[in-house]
Each structure stands twice: as C-alpha cells, then as structure tokens.
Amino acid sequence: MSVAPLVVALVQVTVAVAFAPLVVGVTRQTRARLEGRVGPGVLQPARDLRKLLAKTPLRAAGTSPVTVVAPVVLLTSSLLLAALVPLVAALPLSLVPGDLFVAVSVLLLGTVAIALLGLDAGSAFGGMGSSRHMTISALVEPTVLVSVYALSIPVGSSALALIVAARRDHPASIASPAGVLAVVALVIVVIAETGRLPIDNPSTHLELTMIHEAMELEQSGRDLAWVDLASWLRLSVLLGLVGNLVLPWGVAGSAGFGPVLLGALALAGKLALLAVLLAAAEVAMAKLRLFRVPELLAGSFVLAFLAVTASYLVA
C-alpha cells in the first residue's frame, strides 16, 4: 500500500489522541457553565489522565488476565478507529477499506473488551452494566448499517472516505432528505455507542443507573486511564465523523502538509462546535428509562430505513 495515506492515518490518530480529552473537557465545562457552576476547566480530563497514569492500579482478587488485557484492547480499538475514520483527510487506505462495517467491527471489538472487563471481577454491577451495554449495541447495529447503506447509495461505495469526499464535492447531497435522515440516525447511534444522555448518564454516581460507568467500577490507576482515554477517543472520533458528514468542508483530499493542517484545524472547529451542542442538549435532557431505549433505537432504525427509500427517489 502507498505510504502517504498511512502517514495521514497516523497523523489522524495523534490528532485524535490530542483532541479527545479536550472534547470531553469542553463538554463538561459547557455543562457546568450552563448549570451555573464554575467548572474545573477544559484541561481537567487531561490532568485526570496524567494523575491516573501515575497511580498503582488495584485489581480485585480472583480477576483473570482479561482485567489486564481488556483496557489495552479497548484503547487499541479506539486508536484503530481513529485511523480508519476520515477525520483530517479523506484518503482511503488501499488494503484496509475505511468501510463503515470494518470501523463498526473495530468499535465492537472494544465494546466486547469492556463488556468482558465488566464481568471479570464478578461483582453484580459490572455484569449489569455489561449486559445493558451489549444489549444496546446489539440494537444499534441495524441502524448503523442501514444508514451507511443509505449514505453509500449515491456514492456507490461504502468506504467512509469516499462518502465524505463525495459530500464535499457535491454539497447538494448533504441537504438531500436521504442524507439528512441518515445523519440523524447516525447521531442517535453515536449517542448510544458513547453512552451519553438520554441513554446513559456519564456523570452519574448511582450504581443502579449506570451502564458505562458500571463496567469500569473495578478499574483504577492506569487501567482506568486507558479505559477513559479509549472512551473519550470514541466520542471525539464519532463526533468528528458526524461533523465531516454534515460539514465536509476542510477535509483534506490529498496528503500534502497544507491540506492536512487545514483539515486538522477544521476538525478542531467542528469538534468544538459539536461538543458544545452536545453539552447543551444534555443539559436540556433527562435520562431515558432503560426499557424506553429500544423505542429510541427503533425510531432511529426507521429513520435510517426511510433514508434508504428516500435515496431511491433521488438516485
């Protein structure tokens, strides 16, 4: 495979790793401000990370190697995701398609890792969180694939890079009913996958309401650092993807230094915007009861399916 896209991919990864804590920081800070608190500042997540890395991890007795390996696997999957999704530049890798199915599978690999992590300690909460998390990601899967199908119809390919490029070159297709519906569906998916409101409350401290947090109850020190970083990466990468789908401008079409830099800056802008929007939305929203979640996801599936039918009209 040619080297340029590979380099770009690595650049993307580093950019994503750099941005991820900031994105989370921005959301938390915005929430704090909207809720009338001062807030810890945008850099707090980064500081937390540093502190955690310096701490000795504690592991529950009777845990298996899974507890050791899972956080790293989770992190790897997130990093790989960052490499596959077009964030800074839309350059398809020759042998590894930036196919959304591949991306989702990589994502799910991480999901499975954290689900097993939750089970490993043998505490009731871990199992609870893992079960709920897996159920939700199972229900999310149809929406993802159908919406990608809808997006790929006009392009004739399921490679994300090509889809984004196509939308950048023909902005008309962004506003097309198919595109809009598909993106909305995707947004819901992203919220579900990253455990944000209204599906999961990332800032809860009540075990019984936890989904994502419940699985990392047992983690501490660097283990927790990897898990946190990984989930932040997920959030920012998926937000970045949505951003590039909605506002594809600035995404680099070639591997030159200029375009990539521009792309990175554009990405920063989009991420900041989306983070603020997300926080604002979360403030305005209450958490859904767990067993109303399927309704939401069914709704998103319907949107995606409508997107498909709509795409037939335009295509």
């Binding site: 790293v72 990093l79 591949v102 694939l145 660097r222």
Partner: protein, 665 residues
C-alpha cells in the same frame, strides 16, 4: 485410477477398518484404534476434497440390483469444497473423541456409527446422481441417530430427543426423495450431470424446488423445521454434536446450493425471495433463542440455525441478484455464502469441543452454574474465546470476513430502479445486522458467564483442564478460525471457483478482493495497522507495569466493601434479561415468582424463588398440536377396527359392490 478415485476408495476402506476395529477391540485400545481410523476416514475425505478442488474429476459407477442407471460418485468442485470441510471437521472431532468418549459413548456401536457417519457425510457431496445421493444421505441420517442415542440408558430425555431427530430427519428425507422424483420426472434423468440446467418453467420444476428446499432446510435446521436441533445437540456426545452442527447441517446448505445453483440455475424471483425469507427468519429466530438460552449446548444449537439461516439468505440473495442482472454482487453473495459456511464450521466445531471439555470436566451444561473456568481450564477458555469471536463475527476471524463479504454484496447490489431488489435488500440488511448484534450479546454472555467471574457452583470449582488429546483438536479449531480470518484470500478464491463464479481472488497479504464489486479487505493489513497504532500504548503499558506493578488482592466493589457472594453475580439468565424483556412477545417465556413471606409480617419476604423457562414457540404452537392431532386421529381409527367380524365383512361387502359398480358401469 486418479487421486480422487483413490481417495474415495480409501474412505470406504478406512471406514470398514474403523468399524472392524471398533467391533474387534475393547477398552482404551478401541478408542485409540477406532478413533485414529475415523480420523483417517475424515483425512481421506479432506484430501479427496482438495484434489477435487485442484481440478481432479472422476465418475465411479456403482451398479444396483434394479434395472436403473448405476449410482454415480462424481464430485464437482462444490462437492469437493464440502468434502474438505466435512473432512477437516471430522479429523479434529475424531481425535477429540479419543480422549473424550467414556462410558456409553465409548461403546463399539458408537465408534462404528461415528465411522459410518463420517463416510456418509463425505459421500453426500461426492454423489453424482439421485440414488447415490439419497443412499449417502440416509446412511448419514441413520448413523447420526445412533450417535444421538449414546446416553439413552442414563437420561430419559435422550429417547425423546432421538425420536424427534429421527422423525424430523426422515421428514427431510421424504421431502428430498419426492423433490428429486419430481425433478427427475421434469428433467428426464436421475444423474445430476444430465439434470444440470433443468428449465425452471413449469409446475414440475416448481414442485421439485419447493420440496427440495424444505427438505434441505429441515436438515440445515432452518425455522420452522429446526426443532430437532436444540433437542438433539445437548443430548448427543460433544464430538457428535460438533460433527452434526458443523458438518452435517452444512450438507443441508449444500443441497440448497446443488438445487439452486447447479441444477436449476435461472431461478424465478420468488424462489430467491423464499430462500431469503426462510434464511433471514431463521437467523433472527435462532439468535434470539440462543441469546436467552442458559444450556450451553442448546445455545450453540440455536446459533447453528442462525448461521445456516445467514448462509441460506446469502444463497437466496445471490439467486435474486443473478435473476435481476447484478452479476457482480451476485457472485459476491455466493462467495459470502460459502465463506459463512466454512467459518461457521470452524468456530462451531471449536465451540462444541470446548463445551464438551467443560461438560467432561464439570458435568455441567447450565451456564447459570458455571463461572471462573478461565483459571482452571485456560486452554479451553482461550479456544472457546476465539470461537466466540468467530461466532460474533469480530475481527480477525473467519466470521468477520464472511459477514463483510455478505454486506459488500448487499451494498453493491443496490438497484433503485428494480422494486423487488429495492425492497428486499435493505430489509435483509437490517435483519442480518440485528442478527449480528444479538450474536455479539449471545457470545459475550456465553464466554463471559462460563469462563470469567467466580464459580457459581461447587462442581465447577473442581474442574480440571482437558487432556492433550482433547486440547490439540480444540487448538487446531481455534487456529482454523483465526487463519480464516487472517488469510481469507485463498479460501474465498477456492469458494468462487467451486461455484464457477469469478467472484473473488487473492489480494495483498492473503487478503480477499471481490472482483465483482471491486472491494478489498486484507485483515492482515488491518492487524498490522492496529499493531502500529497500538505500539506506543503497549510500550507505555509495559514500562509502567515494570515501574509500578499492580496490587491484585483487593475486594471487588460491593457498595462499601462487602464481599459479595458468588450468588450475587450476574448469571446467564440475568445477563439476557434485557433482551428477553425487549423481545418478550417473540420468545414468550413462562416465568413464575414464588414469594414466601415472613411469619411476622407480610411486608418482609423470607424467600423469593424465580424460575423461567423458554419453550420453543414453533415447537409448542406448530408441532405439538400437529402430533396431538395425528394421535387423536389414530385413536379414532383404532375404534373403527373394533373386532366385530360383521363389520369387517361389511368392509369387504362394500368393496365388492363398489368394484362391481365400477367394472360394470
């Protein structure tokens, strides 16, 4: 005499040797001798399959006492692929059996049946005409029934399972027989070579197709003819379950391929839609039941009918797309079907062997009583984990590549102008995606509950790792799963050539390129990329680990440090509870909660018992009423035969008058 002929001969001879050694020897010697002979049979099958795939052909004729054309053994490439698949599974299952069998499952009958079962399964894809096909088919059916019966003296459930299995498998035979009869009547011959390309117009062909499809669907365990699967698999010894679930059901799919691709290629749209509906329906139904199952082998059985459902759906998709002139995507779909078949064989064999090892070590099939086995049985845990990854079609396993191929076919099969395709394809996509998602839950549950956390019953604490003779096959199976996932190119190319489709070829690093749709996937490259991006993190991890090792003896979080008892863990039932609740209407579980209150106050419960059973809806709503109706009818018929000679003479008298009126009229 060419290699293929030699291979066929070797299979028969070795099978005879296996039966002989099973009958002649006893004890451990029998296990070793017969086991290796069985492995030999399977190996010969695998080699034969390879040489057929390599282009070898042969037509062995076996004459019968009847004035019909002689039976023919003439495997084509597709048959070769299946022979290879069955043979490979057979080898590891036979070796595994040497260490696994004990008590009833080590009897001479069981070993002989195993050998004949393998032979039958390898002759089915070799058959070149109807009679030979049916012969091998019935040999397979009879032998497998014997295998299911192994434990009949110990559990009453075995008998019912075996009767269900025997009747369902005979139903399948009867349908296939009728279907082939209709087909040969329409095509005017009984040899597949002559029947190939039979016109699909006319009632004869339609009847034949429907009968054959349903018959093969019954063998492939598709809903609603799957009822034998969840009954037979848990009762059979695990090596037999592995063979039945990984190899035998694949032959059902082979039958559908034979009919839909080789014999009657240009299928009408509704045939294809029928197959897709059948397949997608079974996939969702199967995975739902697998998701809520707590018996490990029952779970695996339902997942079998899920995977075969995906295969058949892919076949139907290929037929649909070919009929609607999307050749590229069609060839991708057919390749996907074969990849699914192969990878399913690999991971399902691994999983059943793992389940067998657990059963052997703990005597448990019930997930709710397992846990923590990763500490006592690391090898089994590792192989079962890899198998689960495959079943969840995650990278980097064969299941992942297969599902990717299928989705490529779906995405590139888009034809907005064509209404049928426009409706069918996205619906199929949605169903397949849902299946994939639920498969994820199912196998996280299976692995996580069985092997992680803490033991939920005493039996599990004393578990011992399986002996080497069982470990090696399990490891081989796991390696197979990974190999299919890392280097799918050659397999895909072979699959494409097997169905004569220019669908796939090898692309860089053993990756697969779907020429039809111009998509490339090189899992090896993906792994490489992953390694590159993960490298810094790994380095950091190792550095920190050396600098500051973890302390691994703290209490798990119990809301304030109370050490939770193992009974407070999530178990399989509770893990599946959300799925159960969401799909309540489809699964219709029967729950009951018994609350015993304290004597002092009815506000405090002393004990709460919760029990839940999930019956197979199809069995309860379709088959049981059917059986009951038949029995009621039979009871009424018995009353007609009431022993009065006058009535009997009355029958004859009526017949006489009737005949007189007929002949004189």
């Amino acid at each position: 005499m060419n290699p293929v002929a030699w291979g066929l001969l070797a299979q028969v001879v070795l099978a005879v040797c296996a039966v002989a050694s099973a009958l002649a020897t006893r004890g451990h010697v029998r296990n070793v001798l017969a086991g290796s002979a069985c492995a030999g049979v399977a190996g010969a099958g695998a080699v034969t399959g390879m040489s057929v795939l390599a282009g070898g052909t042969v037509a062995v004729q076996v004459t019968t006492a009847l004035p019909v054309p002689p039976m023919v053994l003439a495997p084509d490439r597709l048959g070769g692929l299946l022979m290879l698949l069955v043979g490979a599974v057979g080898v590891i299952a036979s070796v595994y059996a040497i260490g696994y069998v004990h008590g009833a499952s080590a009897s001479r009958t069981q070993w002989a049946a195993l050998a004949l079962f393998l032979l039958g399964m390898q002759l089915v894809p070799a058959a070149g005409d109807v009679v030979a096909f049916l012969l091998a088919w019935e040999l397979m059916a009879a032998a497998s029934t014997v295998l299911v019966l192994a434990e009949h003296a110990h559990r009453h459930t075995v008998r019912h399972a075996a009767v269900w299995y025997a009747v369902m498998t005979h139903l399948s035979f009867v349908l296939i027989l009728a279907g082939f009869a209709a087909l040969s009547a329409a095509g005017g011959s009984t040899s597949f070579a002559a029947l190939a390309g039979t016109g699909t117009a006319g009632a004869g062909a339609t009847v034949a197709f429907v009968l054959l499809t349903v018959g093969f669907a019954a063998k492939a365990g598709l809903v609603p003819l799957h009822v034998w699967l969840p009954r037979a698999h848990p009762e059979a010894p695990s090596h037999a379950s592995a063979l039945m679930s990984a190899a035998m059901v694949s032959l059902g799919a082979y039958g559908i391929l034979l009919v839909g691709v080789r014999l009657m290629p240009d299928a009408p749209t509704w045939w294809a839609v029928l197959l897709i509906a059948l397949g997608a329906g079974s996939a969702v139904y199967g995975i739902l039941h697998a998701g809520v199952a707590t018996d490990l082998k029952r779970l695996l059985a339902y997942s079998t009918s899920e995977n075969l459902g995906l295969v058949v759906a892919a076949i139907g998709l290929a037929m649909l797309l070919r009929t609607h002139h999307v050749p590229g995507a069609a060839s991708a779909a057919i390749v996907a079907a074969l990849l699914l078949l192969v990878s399913h064989a690999a991971f399902k064999a691994t999983l059943f062997l793992g389940a067998g090892a657990v059963l052997r070590a703990t005597g448990e099939r019930d997930l709710d009583r397992m846990g923590g086995l990763v500490h006592t049985m690391p090898w089994t845990a590792a192989t079962f984990g890899v198998g689960s990854l495959g079943a969840a079609s995650l990278p980097v396993t064969g299941g992942f590549v297969a599902e990717w191929t299928l989705l490529q076919a779906l995405i590139h099969g888009v034809r907005p102008a064509d209404r049928v395709v426009a409706v069918v394809v996205p619906l199929t996509l949605g169903l397949i995606a849902l299946t994939a998602g639920l498969a994820l839950v199912t196998f996280v549950k299976a692995f996580g509950i069985a092997f992680l956390a803490r033991a939920r019953s005493a039996a599990v604490l004393g578990a011992r790792e399986a002996p080497w003779s069982m470990r090696v096959p399990m490891v081989l199976g796991a390696l197979g799963v990974l190999a299919l996932g890392l280097l799918p190119g050659p397999v895909a190319a072979a699959a494409a050539s097997a169905v004569g489709a220019e669908g796939a070829r090898v692309a860089g690093l053993g990756g697969v390129e779907l020429t039809g749709v111009g998509a490339v996937l090189s899992p090896a490259a993906l792994v490489g990329l992953g390694a590159v991006v993960a490298l810094p993190a790994l380095v950091l991890v190792l550095a920190l680990a050396r600098q500051r090792p973890a302390t691994a003896d703290v209490l798990a979080w119990g809301c304030g440090g109370v050490r939770t008892s193992p009974r407070m863990q999530y178990n399989a039932t509770s893990y599946a509870e959300p799925v159960m609740r969401i799909f309540n209407d489809a699964l219709q579980p029967s729950r009951d909660v018994v609350v015993t209150h304290l004597a002092e106050s009815t506000y405090h419960a002393e004990r709460v018992r919760f029990s839940q059973r999930v019956d197979d809806v199809v069995e309860a709503r379709l088959f049981r009423p059917l059986v009951a109706a038949a029995d009621a009818l039979a009871e009424r018929a018995r009353r007609v035969q009431n022993g009065s000679i006058n009535r009997y003479l009355g029958f004859s008298f009526t017949a006489l008058v009737a005949v007189l009126l007929v002949v004189a009229g």
